[in-house]
Subunit: 338 residues, 2 copies
């Protein structure tokens, strides 16, 4: 019988995840039942939110069980189809597994149109991160021309799109990132007005004040922690904060503490809202359409950081917490039409 490999959760991390939390296991390759499709993984996504699912606590998504394969966004090729919607050779995307092959219900998959761009973008700028950026910025952040928009983790898959959409909206855009290579990419290539390398900045508050002389109207928060502490005191009256991620805190073993901030909201009547892309399921297509137009017009640029080889998927994931990726972090698992 044919086999496939999958990464299973070996143990729950305490603090920073390590390679020991992952098990590479060879299993029987599953076969599609009626209405199902067998997908061969071409690209697998690794994302910060996955850290939450390794934890033994209910959140917006169920925790993964130890000994089970982990889930991931995948772009893959249909090898066998028992569903009318797809045929062998089709390229599809969906939430599948950290696996070389997986079976899925046809209605959990979307077709990927290779004419729109490289198929890998269905996991990045034209996928979940892009849609997160799009509705998070436009619906929650709601930038106006002349506003100052700050985005943290600005060189990441979500942040880089947020900043460019803000620029297109006519806002002044300031990003934070963790290397000079990243901040240069933001200001030289993506049109950010300013970028702060937080790892080389002693006084984040002063750096933020200097980069935002008129205060901050929109903050798209991907990181939490000290960068967020530097932003909040500079929020303007009736500003908006979209809380998308808190990656600086995901590996804490104790309840993280920090300055209490809520009084600032009375002063400013700022609005702070959490953001989850799943809430925009029915507006997904609208976002993709506009994002792909922006990409085709070179108004939005993107990068992908591709790690080769399925066996390196955990390393690619762990690298997210070291800030190694510029743009979308992907794992290349297989070749099309092999």
């Amino acid at each position: 019988m044919a086999t496939t490999r999958q990464w299973q959760l070996a143990s729950r991390p305490v603090g920073e995840p390590t390679a020991e939390n992952f098990d590479l296991v060879t299993v029987d390759r599953p076969e599609p039942d009626d209405g199902e499709v067998l997908v061969k993984t071409l690209y697998q996504s690794v994302d910060p939110y996955m850290r939450g699912r390794m934890r033994d606590a209910e959140s917006y998504a169920e925790p993964w069980d130890v000994g089970d394969p982990m889930e991931a966004g995948v772009v893959g090729e249909v090898l066998e189809s028992e569903a009318d919607e797809f045929a062998a050779g089709d390229v599809v995307t969906g939430n599948l597994l950290w696996a070389e092959h997986a079976v899925a219900d046809a209605d959990e998959l979307q077709p990927v149109n290779p004419d729109l761009g490289p198929i890998s973008t269905a996991l990045g700028v034209l996928g979940m991160p892009g849609v997160t950026a799009f509705w998070g910025l436009l619906d929650v952040g709601d930038p106006n021309p002349g506003d100052t928009v700050v985005v943290s983790a600005a060189a990441g898959a979500v942040g880089s799109v947020v900043g460019q959409l803000a620029r297109i909206s006519g806002a002044r855009v300031v990003g934070t990132a963790g290397s000079d290579e990243k901040t240069e990419w933001l200001t030289e290539e993506l049109g950010f007005d300013a970028a702060i390398n937080y790892k080389e900045t002693d006084d984040l508050g002063s750096a933020m004040a200097e980069a935002c002389p008129d205060g901050i109207d929109v903050y798209f928060d991907n990181v939490g922690g000290p960068i967020t502490d530097a932003v909040w005191p500079r929020l303007n009256v009736h500003s908006r904060v979209a809380v998308c991620g808190q990656i600086a805190l995901y590996n804490e073993t104790e309840v993280p503490t920090g300055p209490r901030k809520l009084a600032k909201l009375i002063e400013t009547r700022a609005k702070v809202e959490g953001l989850l892309v799943g809430d925009y399921q029915d507006r997904w297509g609208e976002a993709l359409e506009r994002l792909s137009t922006f990409v085709q017009e070179d108004e939005i640029r993107y990068r992908e950081n591709v790690v080769e080889g399925f066996e390196n998927a955990p390393d690619a994931f762990l690298g997210l917490f070291e800030g190694e990726n510029i743009g979308k972090q992907l794992v290349k698992v297989g070749e099309r039409g092999d």
Copy 2:
């Protein structure tokens, strides 16, 4: 020349304010110019937000200067009028001074209709605290029938109205307060479903969970600090938090710290908004009209805690931080028609 007395800011408090921060000064009684009115104070309000104005820091209102008279909501009687809008003997309300007499522009005063209720209510349930509660709950909190609404400082001028409006909206209402006398008032008289005496509760989190078995849909936050820490973990998906006050933190001398909470917003997509009644200037009348109807129908009840004598105004203010007041804290300064 006639004189009057006023309380001036003697010095800025460090931490908890004390009697030394206030100076009782006799000054010439001012005379009204064209378009102005001389008002004799009958009732003066003391409010937690005044702590912010004693501080030397810009916020939503200018700080008071040391050596200047402090401002306060006042209900008073017109003694002399140089304005067409008012005549001697009229009862008016406005933002005047901690003073026995003050002069104001006629357009900064509103008439008080004694037929609507005791004139002192123009500083409480039918004044700024009532309007704060009304729009803060209905516009920001937006409770639905069956929702669980938690309000802190629930026996205060704002909180007691918030809780009753939430009850009228069909919500389950839970309040926190600092004495058994207060919690009994909430549940026995005001129709709260549950009330927590936080001073007698070892484990606020468990008490909150017990009082809110279906989680929390709306939190009207008057206090911040540990009570707020007990509420946030129980916020439901798409819940709303109105931040109206943070009295637990106003006397801190260092930046207060506490558990970082923002990740909860991603899990719940909760919306947190700061609240300032001044933003509702043009909807003030609508709120007053509905509040006075509720009061007349005995749907909303209120209490006033009246300290007699202008010389006791600082004590009345300091008592706010000890949680001494049930309902609206007032100072009775003069008699009508003396």
